[in-house]
């Protein structure tokens, strides 16, 4: 099977529009050919910081073999790559780093946000973790999971290939409006406790019981071990 066979039409569907003369003549647009080349030879740069990077290694190793999708040429410099794999939690300290790396990649470029930490901060709703890399860089595909399975990543690579085929690319960071926002879900417990105490005091002044207290008749029972029912 060589290149010649391809041009002879051996592997071209003769019923496909644009294929003429049994595959001997193919008419297409230059754009389509370029995109075909691009999507079949993605050069990813893994920006692995945490656990997801280990799962990314599993994807690149022999068992899952990313080479089947033409994306095995891992480049550790952004200047030679067109797909950025952000694998792992991105703390605020890495914010300028990831922005620099994205800026150094030549156009056109795509970004996969691997795992929930890179996508939303994950279960690290805390003082030093970026709540999603889309605060600083545009993201094309988000892959859920902690970490995502290699199958999920393969699906993401295929999704990128589809986007390349359709000429789509995300241009601006989706979450730019919430840069530096506190992680949703994490509460300032001390402030909440103080607010409750204030509320209770206010209600006590009005002669009302604290909120959320049910007045039920107390049933006297012989004392037993509190944990054993």
């Amino acid at each position: 099977m060589g290149l010649l066979d391809l041009f002879k039409g051996k592997f071209v569907d003769p019923t496909y529009p644009g294929v003429h003369g049994g595959g001997n003549i193919i008419t297409t647009s230059l754009n389509a050919v370029v995109r075909w080349g691009r999507r079949s030879s993605i050069w990813p740069m893994p920006f692995g910081t945490a656990c997801c990077a280990i799962e990314f290694m599993a994807l690149a190793a022999s068992h899952y073999d990313l080479a089947r999708f033409g994306a095995e040429v891992l480049r550790f410099t952004p200047r030679q790559s067109d797909l950025l794999f952000v694998a792992g939690t991105i703390p605020d300290k890495l914010g300028p780093v990831i922005r620099t790396i994205y800026g150094q990649m030549p156009e056109p470029k795509w970004v996969i946000s691997m795992g929930v930490c890179a996508s939303t901060g994950g279960f690290y709703r805390s003082y030093h973790v970026m709540q999603g890399i889309d605060e600083v860089v545009p993201v094309d595909v988000y892959v859920p999971g902690c970490p995502p399975s290699p199958e999920g990543l393969i699906a993401a690579v295929m999704k990128i290939q589809e986007m390349i085929k359709n000429g789509e690319q995300t241009k601006s960071p989706q979450g730019a409006h919430r840069v530096g926002a506190a992680g949703a879900g994490a509460i300032d417990r001390r402030a909440r406790r103080e607010a409750w105490a204030k509320d209770d005091a206010a209600r006590r002044e009005q002669g009302k019981p604290p909120r959320g207290v049910l007045s039920l008749p107390v049933i006297q029972e012989p004392s037993r071990d509190v944990h054993n029912g």
Partner: protein, 575 residues
């Protein structure tokens, strides 16, 4: 493990059994009234001293012939905000280990909020440097005389000290520009400054070294961490004891199961509730498989850095088989969350033994292939031998543990010296190096993989039957079938979910032999369902701290060969 708590202060006479412990006796003789209290809780000896005698006490612990606490383990701050039972707001806590006498000690000193200052102990233990910086960064405790007390884990635009109890968990600050220079290079210096990391193929994770080169020789180097600081300790203070388990998986993610194992043992130590024998045996099996996985990553990526990619492809085959085994047990490949306090989440599948044997066969297979490819390989030998040498005393002072410390010739393995989970019933050897160079560390890791397979074989041969989680209703959830059919089980379930596990108030330091060294969890409990303070003692923190000092005067390429063999894992390093 079930020692009764007994507290003494200088007003009450100490019970004689505590003063038989050499550290307690020596310190109270030498410091007199400056020893505020001596406690023995769950077998952990804790001595509190006055702040002004802090350095003296540390020196005494290290240098006194009867004590010989020469291995620096851990130093951290604790914030006791609004706690009536504590004299001062802050406390500085130090953990030391005596390799010659084989015991631990915890030394504490109270630090007032109005004047949060302690003298530095960096002159006594080199490894204390980063720990003190961290305590300053997270708690604002000033260590007087510290050579470079600047932020370590958080970034430069950060305001405040996040692990203080009055700092809101999720308040963030945005960093605009990364720090350009770590080294102080004088104006007009001729050397070339090279940045390695935070995104660099030979840095396995996000950390950074800046080196000043003269030709190809490293003249000066400085490391920067915190690129993976994701606040495990702050998050743990808001989680119940179970909810911490998934976070522990993400500490050393190359061997997730072992972190959970260590965490479960630490909490079980605090509770005084042991896990059933079957659970312990399964924990040992999966921990040893995790150790093998970790060493596979270390050895194979280290060799990738030297330019040999074949071992990586070969050795990862075994990892896949172990992944399948873990997936069959708990449904996850990497971040397993399989342990529970008091046992395991569920029993192993029926074909567990067959799967283990398959994984063992795969491990032996790739081990043999890697051994034939690497151990007598002339390139590997030339790149590894006499490179990155760390001598015994230096390693202890830095606080090295695990394969790296054993590579430097110190025979300390928690599994042998302080057996847990029934390690004393298995027959295995602890390999120890002689030169402390990269090649010794490589050999130690290779041999440990072989010893791990031996342990797994023995554990499989006599895997006990029975439950996999304790029946203590204060700790373990009752089986679902009983919850649905039995009011008592339903109430136990409700109470446990609603109230959580309630350990006694006290402190415990649980330690296990992680894949790169002693993994310690220091838990401070106030009797409620969240840990008051949880400090992880990450083994590679001490190891990486020494790295910039190791490479000074060496070639740049040797630095790359060294870093891979230290097996620094960012998630564990920065937590």
């Amino acid at each position: 493990m079930s020692t009764m708590a007994s507290v003494t202060t200088n007003t009450a006479p100490a019970p004689p059994d505590i003063l038989t412990k050499p550290a307690a006796r020596v310190l109270s003789e030498a410091l007199g009234d400056n020893v505020l209290s001596i406690e023995d809780f769950r077998g952990d000896l804790a001595i509190t001293v006055e702040r002004k005698t802090w350095v003296e006490a540390v020196r005494l612990l290290r240098d006194h012939p009867e004590l010989g606490y020469e291995l620096f383990l851990d130093l951290c701050g604790v914030d006791f905000l609004d706690r009536e039972d504590r004299p001062e707001r802050f406390e500085v806590v130090l953990h030391l280990y005596s390799v010659s006498h084989k015991h631990h000690v915890r030394l504490k000193t109270p630090v007032p909020e109005s004047d949060p200052k302690v003298d530095t102990i960096t002159d006594v233990f080199r490894g204390a440097s980063w720990f003190e910086r961290e305590a300053w960064d997270l708690y604002g405790i000033v260590f007087e005389g510290h050579p470079k007390l600047i932020r370590l884990l958080t970034h430069d635009s950060f305001v405040g000290h996040p692990l203080r109890k009055d700092y809101p968990t999720a308040r963030r600050f945005v960093l605009k520009d990364a720090k350009k220079m770590l080294l102080d290079v004088p104006e007009g210096a001729e050397g070339l400054v090279v940045n390695i990391g935070p995104s660099h193929p030979s840095m396995h994770g996000a950390f950074r070294v800046q080196a000043l080169l003269d030709g190809e020789t490293v003249q000066d180097a400085e490391a920067e961490i915190g690129y993976m600081h994701r606040n495990f300790e702050k998050m743990a203070e808001e989680r119940t004891y179970w909810q911490v388990i998934p976070y522990t998986d993400r500490l050393n993610y190359c061997s997730s199961f072992m972190n959970g194992h260590g965490w479960a043992l630490a909490v079980e130590k605090l509770l005084g509730v042991p896990a059933p024998p079957r659970a312990e045996a399964i924990r040992v099996i999966l921990s040893e498989f995790s150790r093998i996985m970790d060493h596979i990553i270390c050895v194979s990526t280290n060799v990738v850095d030297l330019g040999g990619i074949t071992p990586y492809f070969i050795m990862f085959r075994a990892r896949e088989v172990i992944y399948e085994l873990l997936e069959a047990c708990c449904g996850a490949r990497l971040t397993v969350s399989y342990v529970r306090i008091g046992g395991l989440a569920q029993d192993v599948p029926d074909d567990f033994e067959a799967r283990c044997r398959k994984a063992l066969a795969a491990v032996r297979d790739v081990w043999k292939a890697a051994h034939e490819l690497l151990t007598r390989n002339v390139i590997v030998m030339n790149r590894f031998k006499d490179v990155g040498v760390m001598d015994r005393d230096e390693a202890l002072s830095w606080g090295w543990t695990g394969p790296c410390l054993r590579g430097s010739g110190v025979d300390y393995d928690v599994r042998k010296d302080h057996p847990y989970s029934g390690y004393d019933s298995y027959d295995f050897d602890v390999p120890v190096g002689t030169n402390g160079d990269c090649f010794d560390r490589y050999l130690v890791r290779m041999e440990e993989m072989r010893q791990s397979t031996r342990i797994i074989e023995q554990a499989l041969a006599r895997l006990p039957s029975g439950p996999v989680i304790t029946d203590d209703k204060r700790v373990a959830l009752p089986p679902k079938s009983e919850v649905y059919s039995n009011i008592e089980a339903l109430m136990n379930h409700f109470k446990l979910v609603y109230e959580g596990i309630l350990p006694p108030a006290g402190e415990a330091y649980g330690y296990t032999e992680g894949a790169n060294g002693e993994l310690g969890y220091y838990i401070v409990s106030d009797g409620r369902k969240h840990p008051w303070r949880l400090k992880v003692r990450p083994p590679c923190y001490n190891i990486y701290q020494a790295f910039p000092h190791m490479i000074q005067g060496e070639m740049l390429a040797d630095a790359i060969a060294t870093i891979g063999g230290l097996n620094v894992i960012a998630g564990e390093l920065d937590r």
